[in-house]
């Protein structure tokens, strides 16, 4: 079972139309210290506002109304990146392929072993944490970038492109000393220590 279950603060969302299974999954996941919220349908889950708190979604693909796999497409359309573990009673290769393509990180066949499910949940939650951290970093970077003046941004772009101060000065029709000044302020504001840092940041910011 999960060794560091206590440390996982994330909430697991269980979406299953079968009340018996829902209760069983809820009990089993809670017994290892996970927080759980259950939903009887994909619709119920999508109606929820604070979906950000979920670190993982456990989804039964035989939901009433709509197929569980269509639900995965809906999540993608809504830019929900929470990892999804798909559980199915009728597992076949085409279906598991479709599920993985639609963004599921794991495909389990009923009856599911608790060990397998917990391993999948742990992996999913870890991945969600990593994704959220990465997203936070990018958000921080973007905030830093926002503090730059127009001139400093121009300098950032040229530095990231590998130009030397002299070349940048020529390109922007300024003196090399002015470029040096802008460059220093820009490096401080972006919390960058080296040219390599700037290149990596530009890459993350998609510049």
């Amino acid at each position: 079972m999960i060794a560091h279950a206590e440390k996982v603060a994330a909430v697991v969302a269980v979406i299953d139309d079968d009340q018996g299974i829902r209760e069983a999954l809820d009990g089993m996941l809670r017994s290892v210290g996970l927080q759980v919220e259950c939903f009887a349908s994909a619709h119920e889950f999508l109606a929820k506002d604070d979906r950000d708190k979920f670190g993982c979604i456990v989804l039964d693909v035989h939901l009433p109304g709509r197929n569980g796999l269509d639900f995965l497409d809906d999540l993608a359309a809504l830019h929900v990146t929470t990892p999804v573990i798909v559980i199915s009673g009728f597992a076949d290769v085409p279906m598991s392929v479709r599920a993985m393509k639609a963004g599921a990180i794991e495909f389990l066949t009923k009856p599911v072993r608790a060990m397998d499910l917990l391993a999948a949940v742990e992996a999913a939650v870890k991945r969600d944490c990593a994704m959220k951290q990465a997203a936070e970093k990018i958000a921080g970077l973007r905030a830093d970038f926002e503090t730059l003046t127009v001139r400093e941004r121009e300098v950032f772009v040229h530095v990231a492109a590998g130009l030397m101060n002299k070349q940048i000065a020529a390109a922007l029709d300024l003196s090399e000393a002015t470029i040096k000044l802008h460059r220093g302020t820009m490096m401080r504001k972006m919390r960058a220590n080296s040219l390599a840092d700037i290149v990596r940041m530009a890459d993350r910011l998609g510049i």
Partner: protein, 380 residues
């Protein structure tokens, strides 16, 4: 053809009885019992199993020969020939009702006795053969109905397996949770108990599903009993529902409450429902219609008959075929054997009901069957 028959003689006049015994001996039969009382005749016939009973009508004791003959026929199917000096109309009328195998007026010659016995034995053999073949036919029909039922159930296997799998998974999950809650020093007995109780409930749920399926697939003799039709319909629908939803077909059910109970064989009537609903699903799948729903309605018609309707908007039936579809081996399905509807109709015939098909506007078919309510029904 003369066979040596074991004959029982029931005659209140001992001298006449002795004479008859001698006559029987002369024409090659043996006497295995003689009595003068009707009650004793019934007992003797049951214990000695003679091939034939020669029965006087006027006897000593409480019951006369006609009543004794009726009991013997009913309890052990041994042929009875009446011997009597009385031949008034009333006696003959009563004697005929006891379905005798012959009637001899005393006194009679050896030849007359011999002919009557020969004919009675011959008729008895013929009757026996008829009874055997009728029984064999009934067994064959029941077996055919069961095979068809199992074939239909076979098509539901995947869904049934899924339905059983659900509670099984819940049982395992709950048990694992229970073990987990009991682990370590801070065991949570309350949560562990709750998980164990959920496991028990889910186990029962699996059991109930299996019971419903077995009730339909079982090889049981046909039993006519009083049933609540709506409850019976719901039980079948709970078996087909998962398969329909797997095929993306909705099931609309409108069961009129407070219907009179019906008398019939539960398994056979459920088989009719099973067949009609799965046919409806096939018709929908064959048509590619957008209206993917099967409607099941039960209602009482103005004549007090219970009427059940199974409707779909599927391919529909060629109007020329509306009645032919009930013929054995008629099928439009590639892998069908064409026995389903024919069996359904024979089941309803046996229940004093009717089954027919009507075209539905604009597309699809509506199957209806009626069953007489209990008070109007005669058990076969």
């Amino acid at each position: 053809m003369t066979t040596r028959a074991r004959v029982m003689v029931v005659e209140d006049d001992r001298i006449v009885a002795r004479d008859i015994g001698e006559q029987l001996g002369r024409i090659g039969h043996s006497v295995i019992g003689v009595t003068a009382r009707g009650e004793a005749a019934v007992e003797l016939a049951i214990s000695n199993r003679p091939d034939l009973v020669l029965m006087d009508i006027r006897l000593e004791g409480e019951i006369d020969g006609i009543d004794a003959a009726r009991h013997i026929r009913a309890r052990c199917q041994i042929p009875v020939v009446f011997l009597t000096a009385y031949a008034d109309d009333e006696t003959i009328r009563r004697a005929s009702e006891a379905e005798p195998f012959g009637y001899l007026l005393k006194p009679f010659e050896d030849l007359q006795l011999r002919t009557v016995i020969e004919m009675a034995l011959y008729k008895d053999r013929a009757d026996r053969k008829l009874r055997e073949s009728t029984a064999a036919l009934q067994v064959a029909q029941a077996e055919l109905a069961r095979m068809s039922r199992i074939t239909t159930m076979g098509q539901l296997t995947a869904s049934i397996a899924h339905e059983v799998n659900q509670p099984l998974m819940a049982v395992v999950m709950n048990a694992e949770a229970c073990v987990q809650w009991l682990k370590g020093e801070k065991a949570n007995v309350g949560e562990a108990r709750a998980a164990a109780e959920r496991a028990i409930a889910e186990g029962h749920r699996a059991g109930a599903i299996i019971q419903r399926v077995r009730a339909i697939a079982r090889n049981a003799p046909v039993v006519f009993e009083e049933h609540d039709l709506n409850e019976m319909i719901e039980s079948v629908l709970s078996i087909v529902q998962p398969e329909l939803s797997r095929q993306g077909i909705a099931l609309d059910v409108y069961l009129q409450p407070g219907q009179p109970s019906i008398v019939g064989d539960r398994v056979q009537l459920q088989q009719v429902m099973l067949n009609l609903v799965s046919n409806a699903a096939d018709a929908i799948n064959a048509s590619g219609t957008q209206q993917r729903r099967v409607t099941v309605v039960s209602a009482m018609d103005p004549l007090g008959e219970v009427c059940v309707t199974v409707e779909d908007a599927g391919v529909g039936i060629d109007p020329d075929h509306l009645d032919v579809i009930f013929n054995p081996f008629f099928t439009t399905k590639r892998d069908g054997i064409g026995m389903g509807l024919s069996i359904c109709r024979s089941i309803l015939d046996a229940h004093g009901g009717r089954l027919w098909a009507e075209p539905r506007v604009p597309t699809g078919t509506c199957f209806r069957f009626t069953l007489p309510p209990r008070m109007l029904q005669v058990a076969p």
